[in-house]
């Protein structure tokens, strides 16, 4: 680098620098003087005014929590609402002897020890001058008792507020979800300002996934307090809270009730979807639980009982339960056979009651020991012949099965507006290599053909796939929330981009015809629900093995324990010629799909269609 070293005039440079230093020093003095002037203005001129503001008027800024949005079903029935409630709140800073006060309150109001320890936990997370709830949901008697002695408890007060309530309790527990106290982990990720004054947050279901819409915006009020800190009056400078938006679900609570009752004592899941909109009409998972327990703070014993129950009531079977689809997969596989031209509508196969791979001795059994005789695709679907589908699956090969089924939304999340969904699995060679580092066996293709083996689906996926099939391949997206209502103006939720599976109409019609015969045909596996109805249902039964029967063993329902009995499945849509509702029913340990699962679906369909305009 050639430096331009002209002779520096160091004297000039020095002179300039010195003058600049002096300038800066003067500048600094000037600015400091402005600070001093300002300080004099505040501390001398304004002293009296400011000290009276500091001493007399202890103005506190109190958050005003917004009212949470209400959740309605499609007909405007309330699924989640806010009811007035009284809460006993303590401000630790203002209580001279906290332990003593707690003890007195405990004996006065009969508070369980657990609430006290819960209070201590919550107290540690808050500032000392913030109110911490001790007793939520006070009874009228408790309110009255405390009101009499209130004067002797400084720093303790009754706060009138709103508490979330779920009138349908366990029927909507798994879909609407519930609110619970904000925990430490949630506190870290929440916008602090927005949740000042809010004690609860959506923990599951719609309450969780629409938390930011339901919550609303926190307001603030300036409150003048006396020397003890008790509020005297609210000042004018108040920002009103903005209530959360109301949600309208596609859910029909009457249908939900019917599905819930129909499941009776069984554990299981029912999903029904409005085919044209994708709106989820029924979202049932049994057993349910009482979500109201969580809002007012569930006790450890109650929680442990729910957690330890063999029926796992806290488990959302409809969303997270994965089951082998069993024979309900057959209509889709049959369609794959026709689309790939692996089979023809008229080609026949003889079913001797078992299937053998070429050159191998292993017998893959049909559920009907004596066999179905000579069957065509249609018969195979109506009678649910396993041998036909072993053969079809073998000819299709696992890759084509995988690729075809994935189009119907299997093996991926349906994208429903709830969190925690499971994606299930349709196996492929690539998947097995990655999961087990093993190559694929032909035998595994066969059992995939009857919906067993690695295959796992959720009730939601089954219902969606059925709806998509009924919709001639136009993909259906299940959604719960259809409208968001803010300040009396309501807005529909955004719909997903439409997508189509390319299918030949005649193939779809053929499969649907076979499914109609499952319900209405003389040899159909679900013919008992086809009687006495003036519309047609297209359906398919399924039975999913919970454990496998060895080669030479006989299967006997009575002999095996209830918990090991097969799961019963049924998928259907109706009316067959103009599909409106699609449904999937999974009954855990229900035995046969036709006898247990299908009647549940029939009840829901009947009620739904009876209300539709003719």
């Amino acid at each position: 680098m050639s430096r331009a070293y002209s002779i520096k005039d160091s004297i000039t440079e020095n002179r300039i620098f010195l003058s600049r230093i002096v300038t800066i020093f003067v500048f600094i003095l000037l600015l400091t003087t402005t600070l001093v002037v300002r300080l004099i203005y505040l501390q001398v001129v304004g002293h009296e005014q400011y000290s009276s503001m500091a001493k007399k008027n202890r103005i506190k800024l109190a958050p005003v929590p917004p009212t949470r949005g209400i959740i309605y079903d499609r007909k405007g029935k309330v699924l989640a609402e806010n009811v007035p409630t009284y809460t006993l709140e303590l401000i630790p800073e203002q209580i001279p002897a906290l332990d003593d006060t707690l003890q007195k309150l405990q004996s006065l109001l009969n508070i369980p020890d657990e609430k006290i320890s819960q209070f201590h936990r919550q107290r540690k997370r808050q500032k000392r001058f913030n109110a911490t709830p001790l007793l939520l949901h006070m009874s009228d008697a408790q309110v009255a008792k405390f009101a009499v002695v209130r004067h002797s408890f400084p720093g303790v007060d009754i706060h009138a507020g709103l508490l979330r309530q779920y009138p349908y309790s366990e029927i909507t527990a798994h879909v609407v979800g519930y609110l619970g106290r904000i925990n430490e982990r949630e506190l870290k990720s929440l916008p602090v300002a927005e949740y000042r004054g809010t004690h609860h947050i959506g923990k599951t279901g719609v309450e969780k996934s629409y938390e930011n819409i339901l919550h609303g915006t926190t307001g603030y009020a300036e409150i003048e307090t006396n020397a003890q800190g008790r509020a005297i009056r609210t000042l004018d400078t108040t920002i009103n809270p903005k209530p959360g938006s109301n949600l309208y679900l596609a859910l029909d609570i009457e249908l939900q009730q019917i599905a819930h009752d129909a499941l009776d004592n069984y554990n299981g899941a029912v999903i029904a979807i409005d085919i044209t909109t994708g709106g989820v009409l029924v979202f049932t998972s049994r057993p349910g639980f009482d979500p109201n327990l969580f809002v007012s703070g569930i006790s450890t014993t109650e929680y442990k009982a729910l957690q330890d129950s063999d029926d796992r009531p806290l488990f959302n079977r409809a969303l997270r339960g994965l089951y082998p689809p069993g024979s309900t997969i057959k209509p889709f596989l049959g369609l794959a056979g026709l689309e790939y031209q692996t089979t023809k509508t008229h080609s026949k196969l003889f079913c001797p009651g078992y299937y053998r791979l070429p050159k191998l001795s292993h017998r893959y059994r049909d559920w009907k020991k004596q066999g179905h005789g000579s069957v065509r695709l249609k018969d195979a679907i109506i009678q649910s012949c396993d041998v036909y589908f072993y053969d079809l699956a073998y000819k299709l090969g696992i890759e084509r099965i995988h690729n075809f089924l994935v189009q119907f939304g299997f093996s991926e999340k349906t994208g429903i507006d709830l969190s925690g969904e499971k994606s299930g699995l349709i196996p492929s060679k690539k998947w097995k290599k990655a999961a087990y580092n093993e190559s694929w066996y032909h035998g595994e293709t066969l059992i995939t053909g009857i919906g067993q083996g690695f295959t796992q689906v959720s009730a939601l996926q089954l219902a969606r796939a059925t709806a998509t099939l009924a919709n001639q391949g136009k993909v259906v997206y299940p959604t719960l929330v259809t409208r968001i209502e803010t300040d009396n103006s309501s807005q529909p939720t955004a719909s997903k981009k439409p997508q189509n599976i390319t299918l030949k109409t005649e193939n779809v019609t053929f499969i649907i015809d076979a499914m109609i015969n499952v319900v209405h045909g003389a040899r159909g596996t679900a013919k008992r629900i086809g009687k006495d109805i003036d519309y047609q249902i297209a359906g398919k039964t399924g039975t999913a093995q919970v454990f496998s029967v060895k080669q030479e063993e006989q299967y006997s329902e009575e002999e095996i324990a209830f918990k090991l009995r097969d799961h019963a499945l049924f998928i259907a849509f109706a009316p067959a010629e103009n599909p409106q509702i699609a449904i999937a029913v999974i009954v855990e340990n229900g035995g046969h799909g036709g006898s247990v699962a299908a009647p549940i679906a029939a009840k829901v369909i009947k009620k739904y269609l009876s209300e539709q305009a003719p």
Binding site: R20, L31, L35, V44
Partner: protein, 376 residues
């Protein structure tokens, strides 16, 4: 100046003086810094609600920061000059790194996680930018020509923009002013200076367009704090109440009610001056400002005594930045400047800015103690 004779006195007599001279420590400056640090502990104890844990943390940070100062005082300023470009370049690269993969903290991306510790490159660039500009301008005859001013402008603008993008308005103001200060000390013409200021003022609407929502709110709040008395304006109102209620003599140490009752937000960090003003009153504030001015005077003296253009420009700029810190912070707390996140130097709780500040003082000491003809 008065301080000079006092310094000689220290140099010649005591053993401590000899050791400090070996360590290249400037005694008057060190004395000023120690007094301020002691004040910091006093105010912090009160502002934090008598939290000793915070005092210990602050003590550790202060020890580290003084360690940095001693280390840098030991290095010959020629070394700084030689490595200015490298340090500046490194700083800019790290800033880009922060934007690409930095950690989020309080909604802004400022930290770079190096595995074993987290590092804030914008702190480093506060020192390396004036170093770079001083190096560049000292390579050419002073006062700088148009071309050099333009290039220097670009060199200042790059890190300023990168920091403003994080977004950290306070630090970007400090970086820009430290660079501009070098140009000023280098002797750019008054006419140029005024033109630039007018041009910048006319660009305000454009700047407004690029500001984030919260930054706009701050400016609007500054213009009219009553507009949002519960949100952004709340800080300022509470801080004014604290200062005003302190009066001439203050409420005495630990007597602050405003911070005690948690009316005053950020009372240990950015708004600590309000606690100080409430407890020690106007007299205390004047004392603190005088102490700051004494330190600044000593630093400007060091700048005048410096023997080459680079040292001179750098010393001048670092001193000015120190003042900008003070002015922006106190100005914000007393409500004559908008709220930008700048701590009160050497007093606010927090580690990163303290290390940078004491590093600057280390460089100033180095400049002063490595002169070739020390007065005997």
């Amino acid at each position: 100046m008065i301080t000079e004779t006092r310094q000689e006195h220290f140099h010649t007599s005591s053993l401590v003086g000899k050791i400090l001279r070996k360590l290249h420590i400037d005694i008057p400056l060190l004395a000023g810094l120690l007094i301020i640090s002691a004040l910091s502990f006093t105010v912090l104890y009160s502002a934090s609600g008598q939290n000793t844990e915070i005092l210990i943390k602050q003590g550790v940070r202060m020890a580290i920061a003084f360690g940095f100062m001693i280390l840098l005082a030991h290095i010959n300023p020629q070394q700084f000059q030689r490595h200015s470009v490298l340090l500046y370049g490194l700083g800019v690269v790290l800033l880009v790194g922060v934007l690409l993969m930095g950690d989020m903290g309080k909604g802004a991306q400022r930290w770079l996680n190096l595995g074993f510790f987290r590092f804030q490159p914008s702190e480093m660039i506060k020192v390396t930018t004036p170093m770079m500009i001083a190096w560049y301008l000292a390579e050419h005859p002073l006062p700088p020509k148009w071309k050099q001013i333009l290039i220097a402008g670009v060199l200042i603008f790059v890190p300023t923009l990168l920091i403003a993008k994080q977004p950290d308005l306070g630090t970007s103001i400090l970086v820009a002013s430290s660079g501009a200060a070098v140009l000023f000390f280098a002797g750019i013409s008054w006419r140029f200076l005024l033109t630039t200021l007018v041009a910048l003022a006319s660009m305000t609407p454009i700047l407004w367009h690029f500001m984030r929502e919260y930054q706009r709110t701050r400016v609007l709040t500054f213009i009219n704090p009553e507009a949002d008395p519960l949100g952004a304006g709340y800080h300022i109102i509470q801080s004014k109440i604290a200062i005003g209620s302190g009066g001439v003599n203050g409420k005495g140490w630990l007597g602050s009610t405003q911070s005690e009752l948690d009316f005053l937000p950020e009372s240990s960090t950015d708004f600590i001056f309000a606690v100080f003003a409430e407890e020690f009153g106007l007299s205390g504030c004047l004392g603190l400002l005088c102490l700051y001015l004494l330190i600044i005077s000593r630093c400007l003296y060091i700048a005048v005594q410096a023997q080459d253009s680079y040292s001179r420009l750098l010393a001048g700029s670092l001193t000015f930045t120190f003042f900008v810190y003070i002015f922006v912070n106190i100005g914000m707390v007393v409500g004559i400047l908008p709220v930008v996140g700048v701590p009160l130097p050497l007093i606010s709780y927090g580690g990163t800015s303290m290390v940078t500040l004491l590093s600057s003082f280390g460089i100033l000491m180095s400049i002063h103690t490595h002169r070739k003809f020390l007065p005997t």
